[in-house]
Amino acid sequence: MTIHIYQIIVVGISVVMIYSGIESLVRGKSGQTLTKLLIRIFVWGGMSLIALFPSFTNILASLVGLQGNINAVILTVFLLIFLMIFKLLSAIERLEQSISELTRKESLEEIKKK
C-alpha cells in the first residue's frame, strides 16, 4: 500500500482535532459535550477513513443508494455541512435573543425600581 502525502496530512489533522475534542471533554471545558465530540469523531474520522481507504466510498455509495462513489461522498458532505450551518444559525439566533432579552431587562430595571 503506497502512502501519499495528502493522506498523512489528512490523518494528522484528524488526529489533532479528535484529540483536542477528547481533551476538552475530559477536562470539562465549557461548551464541549459528548454529542459535539461524537460529531467531531464522525467528521474527522470519516475524512481519515476515506483518505486511507478510498475504496470505502464504494461501500458508502451502495449504502446511500447512489451509483457513483464520488457523488455519494459529495452528497454526504453537503448534508453534513448543511446540518452544521443549520445548527450554527440556530445557536446564533438563540444568542441574539438572549442578548436582546438581557439588554431589555437591564433597561427596564429603572422602571421596576420606582
Partner: protein, 227 residues
C-alpha cells in the same frame, strides 16, 4: 379614558437631531406619557430626550427597532398603560394622527390599529411604495394575513393585545411578526390611513433601510418559520 393610561412609545437610534421636536409634537398633541427607548445610540439621543422630561430607557447595545419597540411596550405595561401607541423616532409620523389610531380601541371595536401609509401615497417615493407592497405580499405569504402596510411602525395596541402579542424579531421583521400574531390570535384589527412626512432627514434614514435590509428582513422571517 383617562389620558394617563395612554402611552406613546418611541424607539430611537441616533436621532439626536430630531428627537426633541418629535417629543414636543407628541406633547402638543395632548399626550404626556412618552417613553423613548434609546437603542444604543452613538450620539446624545438619550440626553436630548431627558431634557424634555419624558421616560427615557436605554439599550446599552443596539438591538434593532423591533427590540426597542418591545422594550417600550414592556415598560408601558409595567406603568399600567391601557393603550400603547408606537411611532418612529425620525419624525416621519404626524402625532396628530394618534387620536385616529386610538379611537377604534377607545370605542372597544379593536385590539390593534395599524397606521397605513399606502392608503394615501401622496409624496411617497415610488420605490418605497413598491418595496412596501412586496413586504405586504411576503408577510401575507408567510403569515397568512394581507394588510396594506405590514412595515408601518405607527400602531396602537390595547392592553389586552399587548399582553397577547409575543414577538421574537429584533429588527424590521418585528412589524411583520405583529401581523402574524394578529392572525394567530384572531385579534380584531383596523387599518387607519396616516400621513407620512418624507423630510430630507427621514429620507436619509430610509435609504439606510434599503434593498439589502429588505432581503435581511425576508431571510429572518423565513428562518424563524423553519427554525
Amino acid at each position: 379614558m383617562n389620558s394617563k393610561k395612554i402611552f406613546i412609545v418611541i424607539p430611537a437610534f441616533n436621532e439626536a437631531k430630531v428627537i426633541q421636536s418629535v417629543i414636543s409634537e407628541v406633547k402638543s398633541a395632548g399626550y404626556q406619557n412618552i417613553i423613548v427607548i434609546d437603542d444604543g445610540s452613538a450620539d446624545n439621543t438619550q440626553e436630548k430626550a431627558k431634557e424634555l422630561e419624558v421616560i427615557v430607557l436605554r439599550h446599552k447595545l443596539n438591538r434593532g427597532k423591533g427590540a426597542a419597540t418591545k422594550t417600550g411596550i414592556e415598560a408601558a405595561k409595567l406603568l399600567e398603560a391601557e393603550i400603547i401607541v408606537t411611532m418612529d423616532g425620525d419624525g416621519q409620523h404626524d402625532p396628530g394622527d394618534i387620536s385616529k389610531l386610538i379611537e377604534p380601541i377607545l370605542e372597544g371595536n379593536c385590539d390593534v390599529v395599524l397606521g397605513t401609509r399606502l392608503k394615501n401615497t401622496e409624496g411617497m417615493p415610488f420605490q418605497r411604495i413598491i418595496a412596501n407592497k412586496i413586504g405586504n405580499l411576503i408577510t401575507w405569504f408567510l403569515f397568512g394575513l394581507y394588510v396594506t402596510d405590514s412595515q408601518s411602525g405607527f400602531r396602537a395596541y390595547s392592553r389586552q393585545a399587548a399582553e397577547i402579542i409575543n414577538t421574537r424579531g429584533d429588527r424590521y421583521d418585528y412589524d411583520s411578526e405583529v401581523i402574524r400574531e394578529i392572525y394567530t390570535h384572531k385579534l380584531k384589527f383596523k387599518e387607519v390611513p396616516v400621513k407620512v412626512r418624507y423630510t430630507e432627514y427621514s429620507m436619509g434614514k430610509l435609504q439606510k433601510q434599503g434593498f439589502i435590509n429588505g432581503v435581511k428582513t425576508f431571510y429572518k422571517m423565513f428562518w424563524k418559520l423553519i427554525n
